[in-house]
Amino acid sequence: MTASISSNGFKAGSKPRPLLRISLGFLVIALVLGLLGDFEITTLDPWIEIERMVAGIITPDFSATEDLWSAVVNTVAFAILGVALGNAMGFPLALAFQFRAVRILCAFIRSVHELFWALIFLQVFGLTPLTGVLAIAIPYAGIFAKVYSEILEESDPAPLQTLPKGTSSISTFMFVRMPDAWAHFKTYALYRLECGLRSSAVLGFVGLPTIGFHLESAFSQGRYSEVTALLIIFYVIIATIRKWVHARLIPLYIILALLVIPWTGELATSNLVRFFTYDILPHPLRVAETFDMGTLSALGAWLSIMWNEQALPGIIATIILTQVALVGSGALTLLFFPLISPKFFNTFGRTTGHIFLVVLRSTPEYVLALIFLLLWGPSMLPAAVALALHNGAIIGHLIGRYTEDMDLRPDSPKGLNLYAYDVLPRLYPQFLAFLFYRWEVIMRETAILGILGIATLGFYIDSAFADLRFDRAMFLIVVTAILNIGIDTLSRYIRGRLRLRTTADVV
């Protein structure tokens, strides 16, 4: 007992409240960074835009363009193919997860956001279906590998000792480890398909024919009735996912997706080779005829300019936005979860709460940010609010469900007293665990909001792609990946220190 207290770094008798301390620490950091960062409303009269949006929301127009339905079909098709391929690649990687090289590879490919993968593949494969499918499949393979290996690790080893000698390793794996893991695999893959639908929608913003493509033009031209119609269809697809996805139907869906996906564009393998062997090399190396001291010093100058003018400012902005959005997500979670909890609301109230949270978490954070950007003008504020709402809704949903199984004593207090004295203290460790798990996800999302003009790392990456400076883009993508892996490691360390656990079903 003594050992466990001292190893935790708290002295007996000093009433250690590590969870409170870490929460306050993060809050203070976020407040300070919030003052340093660029958070303001720059539009002169946001009310005009709000009026137009509200008008659009109450008059959804499902006949706006004939492309609307094909965009919806494409969104689902890209999601199904991307998630299926990610699964197919992630599963063998999960089996090889004990190798360090595999773990590093997976950490890298999942730390690069699918929009950046899309920007890379656009240069290589052009606007072909392969670009969209791989942009989802590659990062998802890294995520599947990690989560599946965690699930497999948790299978009960007890049956191993009764197996007859000479049982092959394939039979052992299939009979002992797979059966328990299978149900978890299915749950997780379904959750990932939901994420895949969001990713697929967002890929439209870089030109693929999914609903993001139409959302962007509808937003930029203020056609909010069309925006509303697209989003409503999208919510219905996500809300009914359990109704239309069944294990037996998956092969059929894959075949259908392959049939409906628009096989446009040409595939040039010469692009592939040129991109990876020439385009992404730092400029001084490309122009150098021989590799000498001159080349080396030019490379040093290139790196120093890239670091000082792009990477460093990008990193600072990314961290500021991440920390503010993280604490904002936490605060909103604590506000949101009672909305769907039977401990606080009756069936009618909870149904409303559910619809509210489904809308918030199904709307891609990118779209939310775009809405607030139109309302408030460019600064970090729209991005931070969008991320906080989206992630607050996701964690709020999980925590709210968690309260369903909570037993209350018969004479427990009601309302605010129940919240503050009973429910909140009991679920706080779980809440922090989910929030820290989400930290790295939030950082990945802040980076892509750069594409909307917020000067995070993603902004510099997007600009580099726009200028066809792929060497710069690649350098910044690697910097972003390292930053994400760093946050992931830090989060795991903090969760370990605080002895917080998250189940693999939740990411």
Binding site: A158, P159, Q161, T162, P164, K165, I170, M174, P179, A183
Partner: protein, 218 residues
Amino acid sequence: MPLLELKNATVQYNGTAVLNNLSLGIEQGEKIALVGQSGAGKSTLLNLLYQQCKEDAALVPQDLGLVRSLSVFHNVYMGRLNKHPSWYNVVNLIKPLKKEVDQVLPILIQVGLEEKVFEPIRELSGGQQQRTAVARAIFKDSSIFFGDEPVSAVDEHQSHTVMQAISASHQTVVLSMHDVELALKYSSRVIGLKDGDLVMNEPSGSLKASDLDGLYKQ
């Protein structure tokens, strides 16, 4: 030479002796009952003996070692995973083959589980799970059976059926038991343990249930 033999075996966990300097021989064809209070060292002794001959022995461990998501049929079939190529096992996992079901069914009838063939283990009661583990051990078709309290959760009537099935299908049987009546009835020799010491080693025929009372006194 005995089939199984221990000489001056001592086992310690964290400095506490679980078995003290224990010597023991078991001949082929013997039915051994290990009796004693919980914590006396029965499970440790059983595992020690099992390690000596695990290649041709079947084991029902205390935690049963069942795969909870799989059906009764699949868990029993696992007793013979080494008899078939992997592809055959995988096919049988996805779709139970009639040939294999026909082989497993008679054993399930013996232990009274013929109505639960395709139920997943997690849906079963503790006694039904124990009977599944026994069925798997019988299906393995070994000459030696090791069981750590294999019928402790089975009801009285059925525990006799299950014990008979175990005895009938194995030449040599080593069981740890807490039910003294059952232990005497289905064994040829009783080995009594107390605090890690061997304190009794007698043919069952010469013992009455009351003779074992001493093992359970402090």
